[in-house]
């Protein structure tokens, strides 16, 4: 191996016979095994909303058992700092988990990713400084992966959370030679990581490695715009899991490997689903630039073809409808309109109108975000329809109300091969009898292109705030 001519070889060779971890007691191994099985069961139960809460309980039991067993490990001798850390963590986590509004769940999850990844990265760093040169090559490689993924996910997730909270600009940010710069930093961090493995005794390599990983995380996420956040969060979810898994390789702990791998593959699947729903590749999301210019001028499409309506007219249209679909988008979350939409749902159902919700996979700022908001507004989950289930239904719908969605209902994606979003699967709302679009203005969505739907014969624009519009429609409808 490459290390054979290095001076540290002698130290490493002697250390091989001095394992730095004690053998785990059998009962701890059995508890870890049970925890791993509970984790798998936990995800299995999440397959349906009926059993999902049992899944959380299974996960909690597995976690609690594993933590308690670990505290009884013979090598854990000092408890003071551990319990102080527990107390701080519980005090910090309770308000985060229980008080955060559902519209802010994406940034909260991004923050949790940052915490998890930071923990993995710091444990890798602590292992390096505790055992340094006595570690074998494979452990050093694992520490390299753990730290690379951990530190880049830490800063990347903080940037993502900042963008979602709109502390940082949500627009895509571009500067000259951006991709060259990002890839150079990535290459430099990989090289520094390799140096950690080859010359672990050098005091400079590890700090340099850490700095580059932290920098790469920022450079990777900073240019990405708000509309790509569902993919980015899913990808960071995957990285956070993989860093925890790498920690399992470092500490030779199979429970960590399993727990991390479950999140690693889950995040990967979600990121794939998001990419497919935008007809884009990972590379395009991470390094792609939004092409401008090719799009049709908005005046050519909208000029003279926009029909505007008010609440009274919308109420009159809804009064005659038998089947209604509501299509929510991120604008619904911004306007905090979910409860108003919930009231409209109740009112229409009480007038024996059949109401379904059509939810595009990338609606909102993270996978499944719209479903959580609508569930919060007491809409039964059997009325929340995914894209493939509701698309064949639109032609039978009398009215579709689009609230805060734009690109995901743009028929150009389906019909115009020259459109920048050509090929992206959309909700075919234009097939319905009447489409009512609630929107503040004709401004374009994330893709920055005009939407021919707004000028379509069967489309009526209701220019208003997403929440106020729905409340006004309810008020008018109650008069009828």
């Amino acid at each position: 191996m490459i290390r054979s001519y290095l001076p540290v070889t002698i130290i490493a060779a002697t250390a091989k016979f001095l394992p730095h971890r004690q053998v785990m007691p059998a009962y701890v191994i059995l508890i870890y095994l049970a925890a791993a099985m509970l984790f798998a069961l936990s995800l299995k139960w999440l397959s349906s909303p009926k059993t999902a809460r049992w899944g959380v309980l299974a996960g909690e039991i597995g976690m609690a058992a594993a933590i308690i067993a670990t505290l009884f490990l013979p090598e854990v001798r000092h408890y003071d700092w551990i319990f102080i850390a527990f107390a701080i963590a519980i005090a910090a986590a309770l308000p985060m988990a229980l008080l955060i509004p559902m519209t802010a769940v994406p940034q909260q999850i991004a923050l949790f990713h940052a915490f998890g990844a930071l923990a993995a990265a710091l444990v890798g760093t602590a292992e390096y400084y505790a055992h340094g040169t006595s570690l074998g090559t494979s452990t050093l490689v694992a520490i390299g992966f753990e730290s690379l993924l951990g530190y880049l996910t830490f800063t990347g997730s903080l940037v993502a959370a900042g963008k979602l909270q709109e502390i940082l600009p949500t627009q895509p940010m571009h500067y000259p030679f951006q991709n060259v710069a990002s890839i150079s930093v990535l290459a430099a961090s990989v090289i520094a990581g390799a140096m950690v493995v080859v010359i672990p005794a050098n005091p400079l390599v590890f700090p340099i490695f850490i700095a580059q990983c932290l920098l790469f995380g920022v450079m990777l996420i900073l240019p990405i715009g708000g509309g790509d956040m569902p993919t980015v969060i899913a990808l960071l979810n995957s990285y956070a899991g993989l860093s925890a898994s790498a920690m399992g390789f470092v500490l030779n702990n199979k429970l960590l490997i399993i727990g991390g791998a479950l999140e690693g593959s889950s995040g990967f699947i979600l990121a794939m689903i998001m990419c497919k729903a935008m007809n884009r590749s990972f590379i395009n999301v991470l390094f792609g630039q939004v092409q401008a210019g090719k799009a049709t001028k908005s005046d050519d499409i909208y000029g003279g073809n926009i029909k505007s309506v008010n609440a009274e007219e919308v109420a009159a249209i809804l009064d005659g409808a038998r089947r209604v679909a509501i299509v929510p988008g991120y604008g619904l979350a911004v306007a905090q309109a979910q409860h108003a939409v919930g009231q409209l749902f109740e009112l229409l159902e009480s007038r024996s109108v059949d109401v379904q919700f059509g939810i595009h996979p990338v609606a909102g700022r993270m996978p499944g975000h719209m479903n959580v908001l609508l569930a919060e507004a007491n809409i039964p989950y059997d009325h929340l329809m995914e894209m493939d289930r509701i698309n064949p239904e639109f032609e039978n719908m009398d009215v579709v109300i689009v609230n805060g969605a734009n690109d995901v209902v743009n028929p150009d994606a389906r019909d115009n091969p020259n459109s920048p979003i050509a090929g992206m699967p959309i909700l075919n709302v234009d097939k319905a009898g009447t489409v009512i679009v609630i929107k503040r203005s004709l401004s374009s969505g994330f893709a920055g292109i005009p939407n021919p739907l707004f000028a379509a014969k069967n489309c009526l624009m209701y220019f208003a705030d997403g929440k106020k519009a729905v409340l006004d429609i309810i008020a008018e409808l109650e008069k009828l």
Binding site: F86, A89, F112, M247, M366
Partner: protein
Amino acid sequence: MNPSLESNLFVFALAAFLGYEVVRRVSPQLHTPLMSLTNAISAISVVGAIVVTGAGHNTTMVVVLGTIAVTASMINVVGGFLMTDRMLKMFKKRKSQ
């Protein structure tokens, strides 16, 4: 290849495959709670952080890094499970008329 690395790679590959198969079946309605739950589960890294901190290697730096790691991952555990449950509690079927 040393035997522990070998068995660890087997465990990793099979767990990743298991995760893929299980997660594929999760309803798209529950993708947000899924992400939150898997994140809470991977915060099992708290176990590693406890070992590193509790072993008390004589350097202050290791204890400091370990304590921060325990705090960060424990926030992830407590916050992750509570928030997942808070979201799932809201998913209800139609109440009987």
